[in-house]
């Protein structure tokens, strides 16, 4: 009987432990400023008091007791690590920067939203802002920014792309944390040997790439992240978009949401045929090249040129990781009929579900301040503030920063509607097939246009939202 009693108590203990273990943390406390989640249709209807982050300041002794914890979510690359380093200097809160794999970035962010928990601050790709706002997942920062951020000092395209929704509404839900666009990386030694100047147009770049491909100077002319797989997110699209824009094309009509007839235009066909020709000057089998392989192709000395995000610039100047680092130079991505470069970078937004909205807003105010933006530049970050871009500190921080200051004024972004992910899928798939010669370019554009038009027509049967 005593044995039974012993086992009974053991069972009860185990059950108690299981119950406690499964119980999770404390019951989620409703966030302080956003008393209720913003409604999808009316994102501003129940606005948090974002403009007054310190309205209810804690007492001095309470503040001394413990600092709030803030978590930021981003994807794993050098700027994410740099942000962690920068945030370690912030004294008002314990800031943790979670750098998740790029393929899990969207999932992690939006499942956090769905769980109404997770990160306090989210760094989202510019295209996600529509989905996040319509879902009520991020706080309206319009008033906060007007009161605390020097918005006039920001590059207008960045201010809009990283946080404005609907486009042109001047309602802001995010502020630029990492400006980015693409740069030209080329072998200056080979260019000198061949008597080339950095290309001013895509056509010129193609001619130079073909020259290198046919020469004995180097194995390949040009490569980039052509990858169109699902795991490669938006890589192929951002490579081709800037070619299409520079060739005079457009992805859609943002006023009418018309894709068919716009995307499959003669200008875009020329841009896609051009991309297919350019692809041939690269390494064999480079259709699935992602960022790592692109950097590797240039750094290993197999390829003379690439265009890639400035965010990867550090990889090219590290002599330990890049054998050709001493021979590389950086320039502006060329144009054609027009001069447009894909916008990269991301905005920093506050999750509607944060338990520390005041602390999150204080952090944004701190990280966007001029002094800290200069620190950010020293760590390799790219500010979207014009004063920072023009400063000597920024210009001299890296060999590619002068090119960034010039390029960032030429940027353009693409759709940021909630259907972004669905629109991206056919674009990535068919562009990749066309570039790698497995699909006729016109057929590819037609297929993309049909699929994207279907997606938009079903999402907006009454036409674009007003």
């Amino acid at each position: 009987m005593h044995k039974r009693l012993f086992w009974l108590i053991t069972c009860l203990l185990v059950l108690t432990m299981v119950a406690v273990g499964c119980g999770g943390g404390a019951t989620p406390v409703p966030q302080q400023p956003p008393a209720e989640e913003p409604k999808a249709e009316e994102p501003k209807a129940e606005e948090p008091k974002a403009e007054e982050p310190k309205a209810e300041e804690p007492k001095a002794e309470e503040a001394m007791e413990e600092k709030p914890d803030l978590t930021i979510i981003w994807f794993a690359w050098q700027p994410c690590e740099a942000l962690g380093e920068l945030s370690a200097q912030y004294e008002a809160a314990n800031v943790t920067v979670n750098c998740v794999p790029i393929s899990e970035w969207y999932n992690t962010t939006f499942t956090d939203f769905a769980a109404q928990g997770g990160a306090d601050l989210v760094i989202m790709d510019s295209q996600w802002i529509g989905e996040a706002v319509v879902g009520g997942h991020v706080m309206d920062l319009t008033d906060f920014m007007a009161a605390n951020i020097e918005v006039d000092d920001y590059v207008p395209a960045a201010l809009s792309a990283y946080g404005e929704y609907p486009p042109g509404s001047q309602n802001y839900y995010g502020v630029a944390i990492e400006g980015d666009t693409q740069m030209l990386v080329y072998r200056k030694d080979l260019f000198e040997e061949a008597g080339f100047a950095p290309p001013q147009t895509w056509t010129e770049l193609l001619e130079q790439a073909q020259f290198f491909k046919d020469s004995d100077l180097i194995e390949n002319g040009y490569t980039t992240f052509w990858c169109g797989d699902v795991a490669c997110y938006d890589q192929m699209a951002t490579v081709w978009n800037q070619m299409a824009w520079s060739f005079g094309g457009a992805l859609w009509d943002p006023n009418t949401y018309q894709v068919d007839g716009v995307l499959n235009s003669p200008e875009n066909l020329a841009a896609l045929e051009f991309a297919a020709e350019l692809f041939k000057t690269g390494p064999e089998g480079s259709a699935n090249f992602s960022f790592d392989q692109t950097v590797g192709a240039v750094c290993s000395g197999s390829t003379a040129m690439t265009t890639i995000w400035f965010g990867f610039g550090a990889a090219f100047i590290d002599p330990d990781g890049c054998a050709e680092s001493g021979n590389l130079a950086f320039g502006v991505v060329p144009g054609e009929k027009e001069h447009v470069i894909s916008l990269g970078g991301m905005g920093l937004s506050v999750s509607s579900y944060t338990k520390n909205p005041d602390a999150a807003l204080d952090y944004i105010k701190w990280v966007e301040s001029e002094d800290i933006q200069l620190e950010w530049a020293k760590l390799g970050g790219f500010s979207a503030r014009k004063s920072i871009l023009a400063s000597d500190t920024f210009i001299n921080a890296t060999p590619y920063n002068p090119a960034f200051a010039e390029s960032y004024l030429l940027v353009k972004d693409f759709w940021n509607v909630p259907e972004y992910a669905a629109l991206l899928e056919p674009q990535m798939k068919y562009l990749n097939l066309a570039v790698s010669g497995q699909m006729d370019p016109q057929e590819a554009l037609d297929e993309i246009a049909i699929e994207q038009q279907e997606i938009l027509d079903e999402a907006y049967p009454g036409g674009p939202p007003q």
Binding site: V14, L15, G135, A231, N288, A421, A422
Partner: protein, 330 residues
Amino acid sequence: MVNSGLTQNNQLDKEHSGDKPLRVRFRWLTDNRMSFLFLSPTMLLLLFIAIFPLIWSLRLSFTDWSVIGDAGKIPEPVGFHSYGTALGLGETRTEKRVGVEVAERFAITGQFVLPTVIIELLLGFGLAMLLNRKFLGRGLLMTVMLIPMMLTPVIVALYWKYMLRTDIGVINYLIHDIFGGPRIDWLNQIKIAIWALVLADVWMWTPFMMLISLAGLSAVPKYLYEAADVDQASAWFKFRHITLPMVTPLLLIAVLFRTMDAYRLFDQAWVLTGGGPGGSTEVMSFYLYLVAFKDFETGLASAIGYIMLIVIIALANLLIRKINEIADEG
């Protein structure tokens, strides 16, 4: 001895009890109830970790709920709508497209599973035949041959991703530089990429087939071969009428395992080809992942998951029935 034991227990009960002896106070704690209490923690864990999600996902499959779009809302039932969409009975153009995609992904899965399992079976059985004899270094050779199946699938896929690269991969080095053949763009050609997956899977799982086959071969009674030798039977006769019938049930079990395993392939496809080019290596699990965690169509993804489950159960039943038939004949 029994009586003395009971007496001792009674004494202990009295010593440690208050008004009533423990035996009386815990009379309700019968052996059955005690065993139920022992099992309850495990059962509760299973309930929460496996059974509840299964039932919940079944419920979700009858809704069009999205974990992101409808977060915080109660899933509303829509009948068999998601199943209809997955089976190509959708009404809108997007729903019809989903139906087409599901059919295509099933076909891609078949294109992967069928050659993979057949090649693994043939190679594994052949290797087992070669190893089913005593020779110097047999143990070491077997250990080395089993290494692939002990590796993590993601790591295997990464190895193969580099080995299959067109420009610097060792496979193309052998094909092109050693044997003078054309370089093959394994991972970027629509018609070839699926074979890259087959190749990696065959490399990894052939040892499993070999191991099971070897177990079957070593279980064949030696006296059958001795009797055949007495009758001067040929090697082919011995293989056809002794070895194969004796080993077949075990081989079918191995085929069953590998079919089920290959059917749910995801990690290697994600790393090696990323589903590309043009979705040509998007096997069903891969597609299910996209619907569930990229499009976040939770209801539809649950329905597709259950359709996959029904298909694999049907396939498994066919194989199990065959195994039972052979066992009955035996």
